[in-house]
């Protein structure tokens, strides 16, 4: 792939030739517009090689000037084939804040095919950060890529924060950056993907249409192959507009993801079957199929199993009878599947393996720092036992095959007895933890402002019989769902921001709601106010695309974590904490989120500070959401 090449104009096919038109128009207009006297006073101002946009360019970008009609209309533009390639790969949505560098592609998304604007559907975003956050939320919920289109260098920079978070989350997504060489200099570059190469997995800048189609397919394969993550294809405007005549999209070859070899699988199977009390430690799998495979293995061998489902997506079902500590915590063989284990762990490679090849400018971001911590949030978990760096999801079927082949009738009978003992013990352990949690969560139940625990406690009985997805990060609002709710689906909870950056929640929930809309699911967004204000335009996207998303504001009128940090800093310096609110709180004036949402067209209510009013508001909101519209409830809350 020609990722290091810069593009060159494609010569062989009819083109709109806007750049030639603009260059000519610009020069003649400049000649008219600039007075000879001014030219004489400062000649260098008119000879700079990189100048500000011309009057005509700005007119074109603002829609005041249309390009000339070509001599012959393009019958089959290259961008139609690009959209067909996305369709072949099952890309459901393309989110974008429009930009002239991908106008060919955008026109194809909305007009090409039968039906048009379906698979993929164009999703209107109000900011590129929202576009990519949507792709992040969708990717976490479904375990497969969504597409976001970015407009030149400026779109990539707008999107970069969200790409960075997706990278740390390992979320597969396909980014397309439009490139229009020769139009506005500031919007293009020779190597545009370089701007985010340190936090994307793979990129390409094809120079021909054939290369472009191949690049889109490879970008998809790279995104879903461990280590999963965002990939980018930079596509020149000329390729989008090129007449393709009888060219067709090559058949898509799915990624081949390797698992362990049969001999290793046999060894694991023998140990699992020989153990009196085997255990599976499980983490996040790549897709829902991985979760299902883990369930099948656990049931086959009767192993009690840990879960990460309450901490993020693609985890083992939390209330599965085998999920929990089991009847006996003295395990004699522990297998890790995307998790650490004292005996053997199968874990797919992490993004750190990309450092040498991707951090080409030695920026040294976060976990990519040489010799730095593997995670921006703390030291990596200590390694136990043997670790095999390989995809667990692809390995489990091989292990299941060997277990099935080796299992004796006597072992089968013993396993059934063990499963029954585990089921009872796990149920008792869960109920004990739940009773304990309730005693903690009831504190301040009746007080105002509303406790964050009450939000989660009131929500759960109202949604527990629905197909739901909690898409918002919960660490800043107490994570009460972790103890109170059941996380049994791969998408029950989508986890944190990835890199801990604010502004992720609203966009990610909107993306998760795109997936939900197609699957008769609802999305719950317990939305912190600080995060909301980075890119609130996602509210409009949710309304416009009729997304089933209930937003409950955790409105503590602050960036509360920072408030506490400043309080502490001022306190240890003995200078008083009475000015800690400066720069950390959202007061004077308070923000009215219901009005704000209504301004974007969303049904909303609040602010609610009386806890007795909360349940009725949640019911009203859920009724609207189940009817296919988003809803926002502003709740004034305790700080945490």
């Amino acid at each position: 792939m020609s990722k290091d090449k810069t593009s060159t104009p494609v010569e062989e096919a009819p083109k709109l030739g806007r750049r030639h038109f603009l260059q000519g128009a610009a020069s003649s207009a400049a000649a008219l517009a600039v007075a000879p006297a001014a030219r004489a006073q400062n000649p260098s101002a008119f000879t700079a090689s990189y100048s500000a946009p011309t009057y005509q360019q700005i007119q074109r970008d603002t829609g005041m000037l249309t390009p000339p009609a070509p001599e012959r209309a393009v019958v089959r533009p290259g961008s139609d084939l690009m959209v067909q390639a996305l369709r072949d790969m099952g890309i459901e949505f393309v989110a974008a804040n429009n930009g002239s560098s991908f106008e060919g592609l955008q026109e194809s998304v909305i007009n090409y095919g039968t039906p048009p604007n379906k698979m993929p559907e164009y999703i209107t975003a109000l900011h590129e950060e929202s576009s990519v956050d949507m792709a992040n939320g969708y990717g976490k919920a479904e375990g497969k890529p969504m597409c976001a289109m970015l407009h030149g260098t400026i779109g990539i920079q707008h999107a970069s924060m969200a790409i960075y978070q997706a990278y740390y989350s390992g979320t597969p997504m396909l980014l397309i950056a439009g490139r229009d060489d020769g139009f506005i200099q500031a919007h293009t570059a020779n190597d545009m993907a370089a701007m985010c190469r340190s936090f994307t997995k793979w990129d390409a800048q094809p120079t021909t249409l054939e290369e472009c189609l191949e690049a889109l397919q490879e970008a998809y394969r790279q995104a879903v192959t461990p280590p999963t993550g965002p990939t980018m294809v930079v596509i020149d405007m000329e390729l989008q507009k090129q007449e393709v005549r009888d060219m067709v999209v090559p058949p898509f070859r799915p990624a081949v993801i390797e698992g362990i070899d049969v001999n290793t699988a046999r060894d694991i199977a023998q140990k699992l079957l020989a153990a009196n009390n085997p255990r599976l430690n499980t983490g996040a799998f790549r897709t829902p199929e991985g979760v299902q495979a883990a369930v099948e293995l656990a049931e086959m061998i009767g192993a009690c199993t840990s879960t990460s489902a309450h901490q993020g997506p693609m985890g083992f079902p939390q209330r599965h009878p085998l999920c929990g500590p089991g009847a006996d915590t003295d395990y004699d063989y522990v297998l890790g599947l995307e998790a650490n284990a004292p005996d053997l762990s199968l874990r797919r490679p992490s993004v750190e393996m990309l450092t040498a090849s991707r951090d080409t400018m030695a920026i040294g971001f976060g976990g990519l720092r040489e010799n730095g911590p593997a995670s921006p949030f703390g030291a990596p978990a200590p390694v136990q036992g043997t670790v095999v760096e390989i995809d667990a999801q692809a390995s489990i079927p091989v292990i299941i095959g060997e277990v099935s082949r080796l299992m004796t009738p006597e072992q089968r009978s013993r396993i059934e007895e063990r499963k029954a003992r585990h089921a009872k013990a796990n149920h008792d352990a869960f109920m004990s933890a739940l009773h304990e949690a309730v005693e903690t969560k009831k504190k301040g139940w009746n007080l105002s402002p509303v406790s964050t625990a009450r939000i989660y406690a009131e929500l759960w009985p109202l949604i527990m019989n629905e197909d739901w997805c909690l898409a918002s990060p919960s660490s800043f609002s107490g994570s009460h769902h972790m103890q109170l709710w059941d996380h049994n689906k791969p998408y029950s909870y989508l986890g944190g921001q990835g890199a801990g950056g604010m502004g992720y929640g609203l966009g990610a929930c909107t993306g998760a709601a795109l997936a939900a809309r197609e699957r008769n699911r609802i999305v719950i967004n317990v939305q912190t106010d600080g995060d909301f204000n980075y890119a609130p335009g996602a509210i409009w996207s949710a309304v416009h695309h009729e997304l089933p998303m209930l937003t409950v504001m955790h409105n503590n009128r602050a960036w509360h974590q920072e408030f506490m940090f400043i309080e502490y800093m001022a306190g240890v310096r003995g200078r008083g904490t009475d000015r800690g609110h400066i720069g950390t709180t959202l007061r004077d004036p308070f923000i009215d989120y219901a009005k704000l949402a209504e301004g974007y067209g969303m049904k909303a209510e609040g602010p609610i500070d009386d806890p007795t009013q909360l349940a009725a508001a949640l019911r009203r909101g859920l009724d609207v959401v189940k009817g296919g519209e988003p809803y926002l409830i502003d709740v004034l809350t305790q700080p945490r």
Partner: protein, 138 residues
């Protein structure tokens, strides 16, 4: 512009202030509520005394009487910043006066306890009941 204590906090104070506590406290609980808000104590202790560190119904020795409470704030102030050993900020007299400490202590003493029986809370009853249901993968 100085932000006054939110009305919801005043309402909670008015509704929940035990007369006995007012009588026993040497400071002014209403003034203490303003100190509690202005100093950002709610950041960790919640607007109502329930937070990362609860103030309601605790048996913390630091809240046993006014003198100990003042010494706790001041003592921490005396060693700061050399020994910033906990997350609790330090409050020397230059940042919180003795009178304000008295008011603050009165306010903390007046904080209403709110620990209803879980069995009396409908959502918790529903949650506990539902958790007994057998697992269904669908």
């Amino acid at each position: 512009m100085k932000t006054m204590i939110p009305m919801v906090l005043l309402a909670a104070l008015a509704g929940g202030l035990p007369a006995a506590a007012l009588a026993q406290a040497s400071g002014d609980a209403k003034n203490g509520a303003q100190v509690f808000y202005d100093q950002g104590c709610y950041g960790c202790h919640g607007y109502s005394g329930y937070g990362r560190k609860d103030l309601n119904n605790t048996e913390s020795g630091m809240l046993s009487n006014l003198e100990v409470f003042r010494a706790f704030l001041r003592g921490r102030g005396d060693v700061a910043p050399l020994l910033p050993s906990t997350e609790m900020p330090n409050y020397p007299a230059t940042s919180v006066s003795d009178a304000q400490v008295n008011d603050l202590f009165a306010y903390i003493q007046s904080m209403p306890a709110d620990l209803p029986e879980a069995g009396d809370i409908e959502p918790f009853q529903s949650i506990l009941k539902a958790a007994e249901r057998p697992y269904s993968p669908q």
